[in-house]
Each structure stands twice: as C-alpha cells, then as structure tokens.
Symmetry: C2
Subunit: 381 residues, 2 copies
C-alpha cells in the first residue's frame, strides 16, 4: 500500500504544480516553453526529429528526451530564482533556444530565463512614475570614435527643467554591453521603484561599455580561455586604463554638458558587476578626487597594490570616501570567497565599507539587482 | 592556354576579393565569420563535428560542407546589399548563428547580416549632430497596461528648450517590435543625417508596437501559417482597431503632453512597413482629421472598402491630404505587384500620391530604409 500511496501523492503533486505553470517571461511571444512551475521546475522543449542528442546548459546540463513525434523535452529540478543565461546543445553545437528572447553576455547573444521570486517586485514595471532610458551618442577623443551609451533619467527629469541630479556610472560584466543593466538588470525599474518609494534620491544613471573602449590599434584584453570562461588571468595592473581616460576626458564632460548633472566628486558614484567591478576599482581607486561613492558587485579584483595604496592611509580614505560598498552572492562566495576575503582585509586595515551578501544566489544578475537595490539608496544622502 | 588563363584570372580574382574581406558589421565582437567579400559573397562557418547536415537559410538555402576538423562552411553567391535575416539549420533544426547579433523579426530572435552598399552612408553613424532614442513607458487605458515605446528626439531637442516639433509615428512589420526601426532600420541615423544635410525638418519619431496592443482577453491576430509565413489571410476589415483606439486615446496624448510636440493633423504623420503599413492605412484612412501625411512602405493592404471610400471624393481627399506615399522594392514587386496595382488604382481615381520603387531590393529592411530616406524629407514642409 505504501508505494501506491506514494505514487498517488507524487501524481497529485505534479498535477497541482502544472496547474499554475506559466511560460517564462523571457520567452518570445506565443512560446509555451520554457514553462515555469510554481515550484521553480522548468520544462524545456524543442522539435528536432533528426537530431541525435539535445541538452539544456543552464549552470548544470540536463539531457533532453526524444518523443515519438521528434519533440525533445526535459523538466529540470527546481531552479534558483532570478535571471539565468542558458543554451541548447544540439548534436554537440551550443545554440540559442528559438523560444527564448536573447541577451548579450560572454560576447554572444544567449538565451535567458527569468524564474520569478514570489512576492518580490522591486525590479518589475509597477504603477509608479517612470524615468526614461536614452540612447546617447557622443564622440570620444580618446578612442577617436563615435560611441553609444544609455542614460537613465529619473521620472521628474523633464517636468522639473531646472533641477540638477547626481550621477551613477554603472558598468556591466564580461562580454556584456552598455544595454545590459537595462535588459538583464532592470536598472530603470529598480530606480523607478526606489525613487517612488522615496528610498533613493532621484539620480541619473550612465551606462557605457568598458570592453570596447580601445584606442586605435589597441587590442581588446581577453580574460583567456576562449570566450572568457576560465583560462589564465591577465595582469590587471593597468587594466581598463583607456576606459578610465575616456571616462574622465570624454564621457563625464559629455554627461555634465548635455544633462542637468550635479558636478564634483560628491555627486558622482561608480559601480560595476564582475569585470565591471574590476573596472570600477581601477578607475575610482586611482581617482579618489573624482568619485565619492564606489560599488563593487561581485567584482573582479585589481592588483593588490591598488588596495595597499589605500591601506597606508585608512583614516584619510575613510574621511574622503562617502561609501565603499562590496557584495557577493552566497553561492559564488562558497566556491570563490575573494570578496569575503576583501571584506576581511578592509576590516583588518580599518577601511569603512559596507559588505553585502545576496542569499542563495551565484555570479548572476539577481545578485546584482539585489546589490543595486541595496547600494542605490545609500548614494548622495 | 585559354582554360589555364581562365583559371589564373579566377584564382587572382578570388585572391583579390579575399584581400578586402571583412567580418560582417552584424557579427558579435571577435567573430571572423560571416565574412563579407567586396563582391558581396559571404563565407559562413560553424564548428559542429557531430552534426550530419548544416545549412544556411538566407532567402535561399546554401548547403555547408564539413572539413576534416569538423568545421562546416559555405561561400555564397553575391548577396543583395542591405540587411537580411538568416538562420542556420543544424540537423533539421532552425537556429541562430552563434556568431551573429540577433534581431527580432517574425516573432523570434533571428540572426541578421548587413551587406554594405559601397558609397552609401545615409544610414550610418556619421560625424553629425545626433538625436536621442528614448525608452518611454506610459499607461494605456485602452489596453489597461503599462506599455513601452521608443521616441527619437532630434539633435537640437535639449538645446532648444522652447522649440516644438512635428511628429512621425513609425510602425514596424510582422513579428517585429517597437525597437526594430532603430535596430534594423537605423531610423535615428537616417534622421540625424537628413536633418544635418537640411533635407528633412527636425521631427520627433514615435515607435510603438501594434502587434501587442490588445484589450484584456483580446486574442492576437495571426497572419496564419505558423509564424506568420504564408497561410490564409484574415479579414482585415477591422484589423488594428485596438491600436488605432490606443493611439488616439493614449499614445498621441502622452506624446503631446510629455514632449514638445506640435499638435494637429498637419503636424502628424504616420508610416509603416509591411503589416505596419496595413496598420497605417487602417488608422489613417479612418481618421483623416488626425493625420495629414501617410506612408505605406511595402504595405499590407486593407479591405478594398477603405480605398473605395476615398475614391468617392478624390478632390476632397487631395485637398485635405498633404502626402500619400507608397513604395515597394522592385524584386518584391515582380512576385507580388499589389503596391504597383494600388499605384495604378490611385492614379485611375485621381488620388494624388507619390509612388516609389527601391531598385533591386525585396521585402526587406533596405527597401524600408530607402523609403524612409525618400519619405521623411517630404514631411511638414
């Protein structure tokens, strides 16, 4: 009897879960799959009668099973909440799921899936006043090229034509671009919601691409290991020098000329995720006179000398800086505790800072959305 | 001797062509393939050691050939200039080329390739003043939802804070979205360049999504035939009614409240490509009091009654309308002469209009870029 009873409960549980299943918000219009269950399991499906092997790569690998009609499918174990890049592997070739929207990461267009967090809506489009995100072109004298950035202006920007705003410069991660903080990060929605709740000051957010900021003939720095996954780590002593130079000579002056931006270091913050966190440290720690707020979201770390320099005068650094903020997901921390170590080091040297952990998340966008939601309210107060 | 001489010329020609070959502008960073030759042939390449058959779908189908190292490749015949959607077919499954950026069309993210036109730069980023493209959210009472549109503001918009501008509403095609006129169409670059050359008046361009404008519970109209390719044609008598209602009640009032827009029909144009051209006719021909400029770029055609109505009073229509503009590519015209027929019908009934043909192009974005470059200078003069 026990085994039959167990079977009935299992069947009932599956049926209930399927009742509340919904196509992922990241699907293209009309695509039923990927289908997300309330318990965060996901069914992926692909029609591929002539394929010999189809898998889903999503942090881990799931083998799909072929039905008689040539449809492959798999239902995963419950996934972590938030946004995940993923791909299909069809007969050994890693490609996008035709049913998914695409998201630029690791230097290519990738499928992505959003697993909803019940009761959490700070990064959704809500019934609040909305700012704009503007595609802004400008000429960079340092790279000798026209470039594009995206600029978030807060909801009251156009209706308050004399008001000036402080500015956050927000950097994406490895192989992403100047639009990633909007598409994957929902930064406009996070800011709209924080501002509406009076949790953050209205501010301008500038998003540029530190990976393409190269002087004529300057090679793009590779992280090593093909598409930047693993491999050798380059010398970071001078990493991002061109971007730093371009920010100071071209980007910041353009923003402060064309937007109603408050000027000076106390009205300027810089934050970045992963490689963008490395860029942030490289730029800000060498130019403390330009930035009073620094955010490292699961940051790559610069050469130790960058920190040794501030350790020599902790009191001076603490007096000068309004905020040094670092964060990591607990899942990524468990495999790579470098941010936790930095936190301990900063403590040991008496450097004031905020250390934030995102529970249960890895080196992924939900960690960085949570980071932004904690970081932005601390700015310009 | 003749055959040897011929061989030498061929080899020499290939060698010269390869010298000037460049990765397509639509590739992801670092991707060498697709590689475009000066004679517009393209080499596609994919590493797929375990695949049995790989093809490129690009209007026509090209079989790829497998080398010993598992790399598949093919060099096409010379392609038509402009932007083409394409896909790879790996063991029968149609997927994106991992080396290509993605472009939203036919309701999915597709690979795309830009074949340059020598000496043509009106849709490139040039050294001219640039406008902005703004992501604008607004609440639609008709669809009872927050929606997103993109709004081009001309270069002098922010520096001329009292100046008002006329507005063009520009619609995308089947399965595309409110960002397509920017990404595939380069409309911001076309407008920047026309305005800099003083060929077009500075104007605001509003881009919304007519395919997602649905009341709660209203089904999305399918063109038939799966992803909208072929199949039965629905009754177009009332097609796009919700979008028209939403434009008049929500979108136009929002634009005229939040932007420095000139109001009234003589400051309002609407144009669209393909299904967006159908939407344009459906909206404008029923609301001649709201629009003085109409553009159909390879448009889908509404039910005949829509035209019969204006044929009953050609003189009145001619007096009221500032511009009725229709265009088609000569290649699409040869297989489907419906726009040419409409032109002849309009002539027969004495309706003043402009008829434009794009030489050598099909139902594709280069036709519509050329359309915009001819249409926009005729507006608001």
């Amino acid at each position: 009897m026990k085994s039959l009873f167990g079977f009935l409960i299992l069947a009932c549980g599956l049926s209930m879960a399927q009742d509340g299943a919904k196509p992922a918000a990241t699907n293209v219009p009309g695509a039923q799959y990927p289908l997300v269950y309330p318990d965060r399991r996901v069914t992926f499906q692909l029609k591929a009668p002539d394929a010999n092997k189809v898998q889903v790569h999503l942090g881990q690998t799931f083998d799909m099973t072929k039905a008689e009609d040539g449809t492959w499918s798999v239902t995963t174990s419950p996934l972590v909440v938030g946004f995940h890049y993923y791909s299909l592997v069809i007969d050994g070739v890693e490609v996008n799921d035709p049913a998914s929207q695409t998201f630029f990461g690791s230097d290519h267009q990738s499928s992505g899936i959003e697993i909803p967090e019940p009761g959490v809506d700070y990064y959704d489009v809500k019934d609040v006043p909305h700012g704009q995100v503007r595609q802004q072109r400008y000429f960079s004298t340092v790279t000798n090229a026209w470039r594009r950035c995206f600029i978030y202006t807060p909801p009251d920007y156009d209706s308050n034509p004399t008001k000036k705003y402080p500015v956050l410069y927000a950097q994406h991660g490895w192989g992403e671009d100047e639009y990633s903080w909007v598409v994957q990060g929902h930064v406009d929605q996070i800011m709209d919601n924080l501002i509406a709740a009076k949790k953050a000051k209205p501010m301008i957010v500038v998003m540029e691409n530190h990976l393409t900021a190269l002087k004529p003939g300057e090679p793009r720095l590779q992280l090593g290991g093909g598409r930047g996954r693993g491999g050798t780590r380059p010398d970071f002593t001078n990493y991002g020098a061109t971007y730093t130079e371009m920010m100071l000579k071209d980007l910041i002056p353009m923003v402060e000329k064309n937007y109603r931006a408050l000027t000076g270091r106390e009205n300027r913050a810089m934050a970045g995720l992963s490689m963008g966190g490395l860029q942030t440290f490289q730029t800000t720690l060498q130019h403390l006179d330009q930035f009073a707020y620094i955010g490292g979201f699961s940051p790559g770390l610069p050469a130790q000398a960058a920190f040794d320099k501030i350790y020599t005068d902790a009191a001076g650094f603490n007096k000068q800086m309004k905020l040094l903020w670092i964060g990591t997901g607990t899942v990524e921390r468990d495999s790579n505790p470098n941010i936790l170590r930095l936190h301990e080091d900063l403590d040991k040297h008496g450097i004031k800072h905020v250390y934030f952990e995102s529970p249960g998340t890895a080196h992924e966008w939900l960690t960085w959305r949570r980071d932004m939601a904690d970081f932005a309210p601390r700015l310009f107060q």
